[in-house]
C-alpha cells in the first residue's frame, strides 16, 4: 500500500521534467530536464529493488547513478563544442 503511494508520487514527480523536455526548445533546458529525469529514474529503481528485496535490480540502479551522469557531462561538452564551430 505504502509502496504504491510512494511509487505513484515518484512517477508524478518524474512527469514534470518529461513535460519540460518535451515543450522547451532550448537545448540546455532540455539537458537539465534529462539530468533530473535520470536521477529520479535511478532512485525509483533503488526504491523498487529495496521493497522487493532484490539485490540485482539495486546494482543496476547504483550503476546508473554512478556512471550514468558521466554520459550527460560528455554530451554537454560535445554540444558546447558543436555550438562553437
Amino acid at each position: 500500500m505504502m509502496l504504491n503511494l510512494v511509487l505513484i508520487a515518484m512517477i508524478l514527480a518524474m512527469l514534470i521534467p518529461m513535460y519540460e523536455a518535451w515543450q522547451d526548445d532550448d537545448i540546455w533546458q532540455k539537458m537539465l530536464a534529462f539530468a533530473s529525469f535520470a536521477t529520479k529514474t535511478s532512485i525509483m529503481i533503488l526504491v523498487v529493488s529495496v521493497f522487493r528485496d532484490d539485490w540485482m535490480i539495486g546494482v543496476v540502479g547504483v550503476i546508473i547513478l554512478s556512471v550514468g551522469n558521466a554520459g550527460l557531462m560528455l554530451l554537454a561538452h560535445v554540444i558546447k563544442r558543436m555550438n562553437e564551430v
Partner: protein
C-alpha cells in the same frame, strides 16, 4: 518505530523532489533552475536513500555507494552544465 522514521525520510525526499522540480516549468533563467534542481533534487534523493537504508540495513554497501555517487555526481554535473551553458548568450531574464 524505524519503519515510521524511514517513511518520514522518504516523504521528506518526495517533498524536496516536487519543490526542486516545479521551478523547471517556469520562465526563469537556466541558472535559477539549475540551482533549485541541484540543491533540492540531490537533498531529496539522499533523503529517500537514507529512508531505504533505515528500512533495509543489510543493503548498506550498495546504498552508501548510491549516496556518495549522488553527492559527488550531482554537484559536478551542476558545475559542468553551468559552465557549458554560460558561454553562449546570457540567460538573465
Amino acid at each position: 518505530m524505524i519503519d515510521f522514521f524511514s517513511y518520514i525520510c522518504i516523504s521528506l525526499g518526495l517533498f524536496f523532489w516536487f519543490w526542486g522540480t516545479f521551478p523547471l516549468l517556469g520562465k526563469r533563467s537556466l541558472l535559477f533552475k539549475l540551482h533549485s534542481l541541484s540543491v533540492a533534487d540531490t537533498l531529496g534523493s539522499m533523503s529517500i536513500i537514507i529512508g531505504l537504508l533505515l528500512k533495509i540495513p543489510s543493503r548498506w554497501p550498495l546504498l552508501i555507494l548510491a549516496l556518495i555517487s549522488l553527492a559527488i555526481w550531482n554537484t559536478v554535473l551542476g558545475y559542468v552544465l553551468a559552465y557549458c551553458s554560460s558561454s553562449e548568450g546570457n540567460y538573465e531574464r
